[in-house]
Amino acid sequence: MQRRGFLTGLGCSLAASPLVTPVALAEGPWDNRLIVIVLRGAMDGLDAIRPVGDPAYAGLRPTLAGNGLPLTDFWALHPSLAPLMPLWRAGEFGAAHATSTPYRDRRSHFDGQDILEAGTVGLDGARDGWLNRLLTEVPGARAGTAYAVGRDAMPVLAGDAPVSRWSPDARLAISPQAERLLGLVYEDDPLFHVASADALRIAAEVDGAQSGGAEMMRVADFAAARLVEEARIASFSIGGWDTHGRQEVHLARALEGLAEVVLRLRDGLGPVWARTGVLCLTEFGRTARENGSGGTDHGTGGAMLYFGGGLRGGRVLGDWPGLGDLYADRDLMPVRDVRAYAGWAMRGLFGVDAGVVERVVFPGLELGESPGIV
C-alpha cells in the first residue's frame, strides 16, 4: 500500500522512466528474447553431447563414455541432462558441436573468456562485449532492454549501450515511513528520484517472484521476470565446469544445475518461451582424452548448447571432424566459429543484418551458410 503511494506520488510519471517502456519495445524488431549464459570454466562438450558413434570415442574416454541417453545412432546425451529430454523431443533443445571461439593454444580461462565475451578474433583493443554492440545496432534499445544478472561483471554486455544490472544480493525492503521520507529527500534530484523508484519497484516484483531458492534459481527467476516485461536480452554466468578430476561427479553436478536453470527459465517465461533463444557458451572445450585423474584438461573444440522455442533444436549442428584427427593431437578439432552460430541466432531472432553481424557485433567473422539454428 505504502509502496504504491510512493510510486504514484512521483513528480515524473513512471512511464517517463527509461526502465518502463513496454510499448516501444514490443514494436519493431524486439519481439523475441535472447538469453546468453556463459559457462565459466570450460564445459566438456564431448561429455555433455557424446559422439558415441565415433569409433575413437570409447577408447579416448575409458571411464567417462558410458550410460548416455541416445539422441540418434551417433549422439547420446549426458545422463544428468535427462530432465531436458522432453525439450529435445519438442525441438527446444539442441547443440552445435566441434565449435570454438577463435582463441587457440594458450588455453587460459581468463583470456578465453575475454575473447568469448569480446567476440573478437584476438584480445587487442576491444573493451566492449558483443551483446552490447548488438544493442547499439538495434533501434529502440533502452537501459531496461538488456540485463546483466548475477554477481559476475558480464563483460559480454559491457560497452556504450545502456545496460541494467541486477544481482541476487541486491534487495530493498524498508519501512513505509522510511520510504515516504526518502521520497521526500529525493524529490528534487531527478537522478536519485528515478533510480530509487525503479529500485523499489523491481525489488517488490522480485520479492513476489522469488522462492528463496538457490542463487542460480533466483538469477533465473529474475531474468525470466524481466524478460516477460520490458527486457529483451539477459546474460548471466554459471560456474563449475573446470573438471580436471573426478569429472563423473563434478560435471554431473554442473549439468544438473544447468538443467534446473533452463527449466526454471522456461517455467518463468511461460508463453514468451516460444519466442526465446538461450545460448550457452563456454570459453573452450576440453581434451579429447581423459586424464589420469578421471577428468579432462583445457582443450579447444567443444559444444554450444541452445534452448528455447525461438530456436530450432532436436538436432546436433555442425560437420563432425571425427576424433581420429585431433587438434594439436589432443583436442576436438573446431570446424566452425561459435560466433557464427550466435550470429545466425541474432539474425533470426532480431533480424540483424548479416553485414552488421560481421562488421560490428563480431568483427572479422564470416557468417557463412545458415546452420539452421533458427
Binding site: A153, A158, S164, A170, L182, V185, A203
Partner: protein, 458 residues
C-alpha cells in the same frame, strides 16, 4: 577565491568528521599534501617489495605442492599451500580495511582521494590468484609516494612495476629480433604500449597512431617481470635498433634509460597535460568541467614539467572548483568511507574486522553498488558519470547499507537531528533536516541522512 571548508572536505577530502576539523585554507591543504604521509605511517600497508607471501615464495610453495602430490609429504605441502593462500587473503582484506580506515582518521583527505584517483588512472588487476593480494601493495609502492611528485616519475614507476607489467602482459612481449626472440621465435605484445598511450598519457583521442603503438611496444621490450627473479629489465629481450615515437627517435642501444627517456617525454606532452587535467577535473569537480579550470591545470602541468602538486594547486586555486553545485556522486568506496567518517566509527572496528562480517557489511554491499574492490572490468578503471552509479541496483545497495549498517559498526548511533549537520555541514538541505527528525527511530534517521542525495553528492 571562494574557499569553503565544508566543500573542501566533502569534494576534495573524505567527508566531514565530528572529530577531525576541515582544512582552513587551500594553502593548508597543499602543505599537508606536500608534507609527510602520516596515514601511511599510522595505518601501514606493506609495499609490494615487502608484501608476503611474495611471488617468489608462492612459486616455491606451489612447486613443492606439485612435487608433493602422491608422496609421503603430501599432507605437509598441502597444508603449506593452504596457509599461504590464507595469508594472501588476509593481506588483501587487511589492505582493503586499512585503505578504508585511513579516510576515517586522516586530516589530509586530499591525499587519500588522490591516491584513489591515480590508482584508478593506473588500474592494474590480478590475472591470477598469486596477484590478488598485490594490488594495494602495488599502489602503496608505485603510486602513493608520488601523488604530489612528478607525473613522469609515477609513470615510470608504474610502467616498470611487476604488478602492472603482469596485468598488461608486458612480460610476454619480446623483441622479435632480440637474442631471446630470435632463439624462441617470440614476438611483441602491444598491450602495455597501447594502454600507456591511450589511457596513461595522451588519451584515446591523442595524436598517435598504430605505428606509434608498435614503436613504443618495441621500445618497451626488455621491461619484464618474473616471479623467481627481481629483474625488471632483461636486455636480451629488447628489440635492437632505434624506435620513433611521436616523431622522436630514441637510442639504438636499448636500455632501461631509453624507456625512462621515452616515458618522460610522453609525461610532459601537451596532449598528456590536457588529458590528465580534464580527467582530474572530471573526477573531483564535474562530469562536464569548466574549460577554464581544465586549461589552468593543463598549463600548470606544462609550465612545471608535470609537477602534480602544481596541477593540484591550479585546480584548488580556480573558482570553478568551488562551485556550490555538488555535481559529482561519490563512488561506492568513497561513499562508505565518508559514512564511516561522519559516524566516527573507530578505526579499530574497521581494521581487523572478521572476514565474514567484513564480507557482509562492506565487500558484498560494494559489489551490489557496482564496485568490486580492486576489480574494475577493464584497464580503463571505474566509470565517472553519476548515472553509472545511481542505478536501480546501486540505489538498492546504498539505501539498504545506509539503513542497516551504521548500527552494526557503532554501539550507539548519534541523534539524527545533530548528525544531519555533522554529515552535511551547517547548510544541510531543509528536507533532509526535516526527514532526519521525522524518522521512526534513530537508525532510520541516520540512514536517511546517509542515503540523501546531499550526502551522496560531493
Amino acid at each position: 577565491m571562494p574557499f569553503d571548508p565544508v566543500i573542501a572536505e566533502i569534494r576534495f577530502g573524505c567527508g566531514l568528521s565530528p572529530r577531525v576539523a576541515p582544512p582552513a585554507s587551500v594553502d593548508a591543504m597543499l602543505s599537508r599534501l606536500a608534507g609527510p604521509d602520516e596515514m601511511a605511517h599510522a595505518l601501514p600497508i606493506p609495499p609490494y617489495s615487502r608484501a608476503e607471501p611474495s611471488l617468489r615464495e608462492q612459486a616455491r610453495i606451489n612447486r613443492e605442492r606439485r612435487e608433493g602430490k602422491g608422496t609421503a609429504r603430501e599432507a605437509e605441502t598441502e597444508a603449506a599451500h593452504d596457509a599461504m593462500r590464507e595469508a594472501a587473503q588476509a593481506l588483501r582484506r587487511d589492505a582493503f580495511q586499512t585503505s578504508m580506515a585511513r579516510g576515517i582518521a586522516t586530516g589530509d583527505g586530499l591525499r587519500e582521494r588522490l591516491v584513489r584517483f591515480w590508482a584508478d588512472h593506473f588500474t592494474a588487476t590480478a590475472k591470477n590468484a598469486n596477484f590478488r593480494h598485490m594490488i594495494a601493495p602495488y599502489v602503496e609502492e608505485a603510486i602513493r609516494p608520488r601523488v604530489a611528485g612528478r607525473f613522469g616519475d609515477m609513470l615510470f614507476a608504474v610502467a616498470t612495476h611487476p604488478v602492472m607489467v603482469h596485468s598488461l602482459d608486458q612480460q610476454r612481449s619480446v623483441g622479435p629480433n632480440s637474442d631471446f626472440g630470435d632463439r624462441r621465435d617470440r614476438g611483441l605484445n602491444e598491450n602495455l604500449a597501447r594502454e600507456v598511450l591511450e589511457l596513461h598519457t595522451l588519451g584515446v583521442d591523442g595524436p598517435y597512431g598504430q605505428d606509434d603503438v608498435r614503436e613504443l611496444a618495441e621500445l618497451l621490450t626488455g621491461v619484464t617481470m618474473n616471479p623467481q627473479r627481481d629483474d625488471v629489465y632483461l636486455p636480451d629481450r629488447a628489440e635492437p635498433g632505434t624506435e620513433t615515437v611521436l616523431g622522436v627517435t630514441y637510442g639504438a642501444e636499448a636500455s632501461l634509460e631509453v624507456v625512462r627517456d621515452a616515458l618522460a617525454d610522453l609525461a610532459v606532452h601537451p596532449a598528456t597535460a590536457w588529458h590528465l587535467a580534464r580527467k582530474l577535473a572530471v573526477h573531483f569537480v564535474s562530469d562536464t568541467p569548466d574549460d577554464g579550470l581544465v586549461a589552468a591545470m593543463a598549463d600548470a602541468h606544462l609550465a612545471t614539467g608535470g609537477d602534480l602538486l602544481a596541477v593540484t594547486r591550479a585546480m584548488l586555486g580556480h573558482e570553478a572548483a568551488w562551485s556550490p553545485e555538488r555535481a559529482k556522486v561519490k563512488q561506492p568506496f568513497g561513499y562508505l568511507q565518508s559514512a564511516l567518517r561522519a559516524l566516527d566509527v573507530p578505526v579499530g572496528t574497521v581494521v581487523g574486522m572478521e572476514r565474514r562480517l567484513w564480507g557482509r557489511l562492506f565487500d558484498r554491499p560494494m559489489v551490489v553498488m557496482g564496485q568490486r574492490w580492486e576489480e574494475p572490468e577493464g584497464p580503463d578503471g571505474w566509470a565517472e558519470a553519476a548515472g553509472d552509479w545511481i542505478t536501480p541496483q546501486g540505489m538498492a545497495g546504498r539505501i539498504t547499507w545506509a539503513l542497516e549498517t551504521p548500527s552494526r559498526v557503532r554501539d550507539t548511533l548519534p541523534d539524527p537531528r545533530g548528525f544531519v549537520t555533522t554529515a552535511l555541514g551547517p547548510d544541510a538541505p531543509a528536507e533532509v533536516v526535516f526527514a532526519a527528525g521525522a524518522a521512526e527511530d534513530v537508525a532510520e534517521g541516520v540512514g536517511i541522512v546517509l542515503a540523501s542525495p546531499a550526502f551522496q553528492r560531493r
